[in-house]
């Protein structure tokens, strides 16, 4: 029996999680002006960072804890790459400080330069999601 099996029958502690996530998303909306529409090369590199480090939790699929957490807390769409409120400041904050069950990342994992690329990608990825494409070289 896996740890997940063991805890499936627990009740959910989602209210506090929801408040925290809402607060952070609120922060991101305040800072949304930071998100520029076209990061070009940075976006492309940022997608590589996302695919390497983030997609296992925040992608599409049967068991994606980050996506599941967003969904359970009422965020629609629950995918980071489809949301228009992931400002760079939010990405920097969560990657370096974590949020709830999500841990932070060391600079040997995601360097400062890679974090900026990731932030640029997540700020605009939703536009590509809406167009059903991916960042391309300008």
């Amino acid at each position: 029996m896996s740890p997940r099996d063991l805890t499936k029958t627990f009740s959910r502690a989602t209210v506090a999680i929801g408040i925290t996530v809402v607060a952070l998303v609120g922060l991101s909306i305040c800072l949304a002006a930071e998100a520029s529409a076209d990061h070009g090369e940075a976006e492309i590199r940022g997608k590589q960072v996302f695919d390497h480090w983030c997609v296992a939790c925040h992608g599409h699929g049967a068991a994606r804890p980050g996506t599941d957490a967003m969904r359970r807390n009422g965020f629609n769409p629950p995918y980071l790459t489809e949301r228009s409120d992931i400002a760079p400041a939010l990405t920097r904050q969560v990657v370096r400080h974590g949020i709830l069950f999500m841990p932070w990342f060391r600079k040997t994992e995601i360097s400062d330069a890679q974090l900026e690329d990731l932030a640029a990608y997540l700020a605009t990825a939703y536009q590509h999601a809406a167009n059903n494409d991916t960042p391309k070289h300008p």
Partner: protein, 573 residues
């Protein structure tokens, strides 16, 4: 300064860090603290020499950077005892590791090597001794070779399971990598912590499935184990023992060296996987069932990990909240009511237990193995079978992979187990991590039922959020393991209660002859204390080895309860 004083001093250092009180008069580096027992001059010298080895970008001394080395799931989150480092240094190759070890050994700087640093719940990237310098090996992330003919891979410590999986898949090779539930850790770190996976029995034990390692000792010396000790060896990853004493296990759950390479045997992708379900009617019917199950596994009739659960509470995918009547039958004052549970299972048209048997191999062979297993189990009273509850042929398509609930059963690393964070509810506090109490118990039905009645009940009484029934897992061959999860929250009071409950369960388990296989650093010493046969002969021998192999005691002080001489408070009674 003895160990207790050292720890107290490092706790003060940790508190200083958390207050942001830096050292104003640092000559060269803007220090946030010192390693315990190390002078400012010696530390400044060491940092300057570390920087000369790795370059400015890969030596970290700023508080914001060092905070990233804290254990994200620490049961001491936000408290003075939370472990912090005084610096971190990230080499890019074995020669840099050797140079750093030589410097640290000369200047007596405590080093704490980490591989991927993702062993969340077991310490993450934090040192056991606050103030140690973390030796971050994440940049050493090369898959050095994958040998198709001999089915092995050689990797560096920073390689994650996801990296190795991708490398093999991109190479078009048909091998599986047995991986633990969280896939961002790596084969070396996981094997050295004696981690475990989910596929075939001969690959699940990650330390046992390795073959050959390269190790940097505290003085910078370089050792290769097994056949690697032979110059120009052609069989380093093909024959484990080498000649003379087998040294590999010295570097597992210990602090005797820095492992810089390891070979791992890979599982050839099977033709098929099938799983059949055995339904066992009564609570105590688990006892005869386990006897047959063990005989089947010990003959390798099934080679996957059995999965035991109780259909009374639904499936892992669709849990059912048990009724008050069921809970009363399970947790009555005299313990579980076996007759009542059997009657309830009949009334509900289900069974008390279900066990999934998993088979990897050729389609026809797995079909025959399942038929044989059913024949052997058929004599159990009231037993029923469900054929092919899972059945796959390989390779899987991307669409199939995306739909898997437990990809680790197919050698596919993921992070799906972190869904556990959504499901804990110890209190109103948001859950930010977990630790696990995981004692090994005998592989019998009697032990499984006893552990439910002893440990499950005690954990509930101690306020640990528990499922209605404590069911063992079958990860290890020839034994069972109980997994009790403890949520870590942002509330220090809740975390203190969880730590106290954890220690109470450690003591209770030891009274029954059961002990942890692995634990979080906060409990290293408590667990080592339980392995006390012959006046702690095990710990005494570990310390003798420590003193001989690392006489200055610079490597991973306190890891798995092994302390260097200058940090020991006492010899065991």
């Amino acid at each position: 300064m003895n160990r207790r004083e050292m720890i107290a001093a490092s706790t003060v250092a940790a508190a200083t860090f958390s207050l942001g009180l830096g050292v104003a008069d640092a000559a060269e580096f803007d220090l946030v603290g010192l390693p315990p027992g190390v002078s400012r001059d010696a530390f400044q010298t060491a940092l300057a020499r570390f920087r000369a080895v790795v370059g400015d970008a890969w030596l970290f001394t700023a508080k914001a950077d060092l905070d990233l080395y804290r254990d994200a799931y620490s049961p001491y989150r936000g408290e003075a005892q939370d472990r912090v480092c005084s610096a971190a240094v990230a080499p890019d190759g074995v020669e840099q590791v050797r140079a750093i070890a030589r410097i640290a050994n000369e200047l007596k700087i405590p080093l704490y090597p980490i591989s991927t640093g993702r062993d969340l719940g077991y310490g993450g990237s934090a040192p056991v001794l606050s103030g140690s310098v973390v030796l971050d090996l994440k940049r050493m992330n090369r898959v050095l070779s994958v040998d198709e003919d001999h089915a092995y891979a050689v990797v560096e410590p920073g390689v994650s399971y996801m990296d190795l999986y991708k490398h093999i898949r991109d190479s078009g090779l048909r091998f599986w990598v047995d991986c633990p539930a969280p896939g961002w850790g790596g084969p070396i770190g996981n094997a050295l912590d004696r981690g475990v996976g989910s596929t075939r029995v001969d690959f699940r034990n990650h330390f046992e499935s390795h073959c050959g390692m390269e190790v940097v000792l505290a003085n910078g010396d370089l050792v290769r184990t097994g056949m690697g000790a032979l110059p120009k060896s052609e069989t380093w990853q093909q024959y484990k023992a080498g000649y003379g004493p087998s040294l590999d296990a010295l570097f597992c759950q210990s602090n005797y060296g820095i492992v810089t390479k390891m070979g791992f045997w890979l599982m050839p992708e099977p033709e098929a996987y099938r799983a059949g379900e055995v339904l066992i009617e009564g609570y105590e019917d688990l006892i005869p069932f386990m006897r047959v199950l063990n005989r089947l596994e010990n003959q390798r009739i099934f080679n996957g990990m059995p999965g035991l659960t109780s259909p009374l509470f639904g499936s892992p995918e669709r849990p059912i909240r048990p009724s008050a009547e069921l809970m009363a039958l399970l947790q009555g004052p005299q313990g579980p009511d076996a007759a009542g549970l059997r009657a309830a299972a009949r009334r509900l048209g289900t069974a008390m237990w279900s066990c999934r048997l998993r088979f990897y191999g050729p389609e026809a062979v797995t079909a025959a193995q399942w038929q044989y297993a059913k024949r052997e189990l058929a004599s159990l009273p009231g037993v029923r079978f469900v054929d092919d509850v899972e059945h796959f042929h390989f390779p899987l398509s991307d669409e199939q992979i995306n739909k898997l609930m437990d990809p680790a059963y197919f050698g596919i690393p993921s992070l799906d187990q972190f869904d556990v964070g959504l499901e804990f509810a110890a209190s109103k506090d948001p859950v930010i991590g977990h630790i696990f109490f995981t004692p090994i118990i005998p592989r019998t039905g009697e032990a499984a039922l006893k552990a439910n009645e002893v440990l499950g009940k005690a954990a509930r009484d101690l306020g640990v959020p528990m499922p209605p029934l404590t069911i063992p897992a079958f990860m290890w061959e020839r034994s069972l393991i109980i997994i009790i999860g403890f949520p870590i929250t942002a509330n220090a009071d809740t975390n203190r209660k969880m730590r106290e409950a954890f220690l109470a369960l450690v003591k209770l388990a030891a009274q029954h002859g059961w002990a942890e296989y692995r634990t979080a650093p906060a409990f290293y010493d408590a667990i080592m204390d339980t392995y006390s046969f012959n006046e702690h002969a095990h710990r005494r021998l570990c310390e003798t080895l420590k003193d001989a192999i690392d006489p200055n005691g610079i490597l991973s002080a306190g890891r798995y309860g092994i302390w260097p001489a200058h940090l020991r408070t006492r010899r065991p009674i």
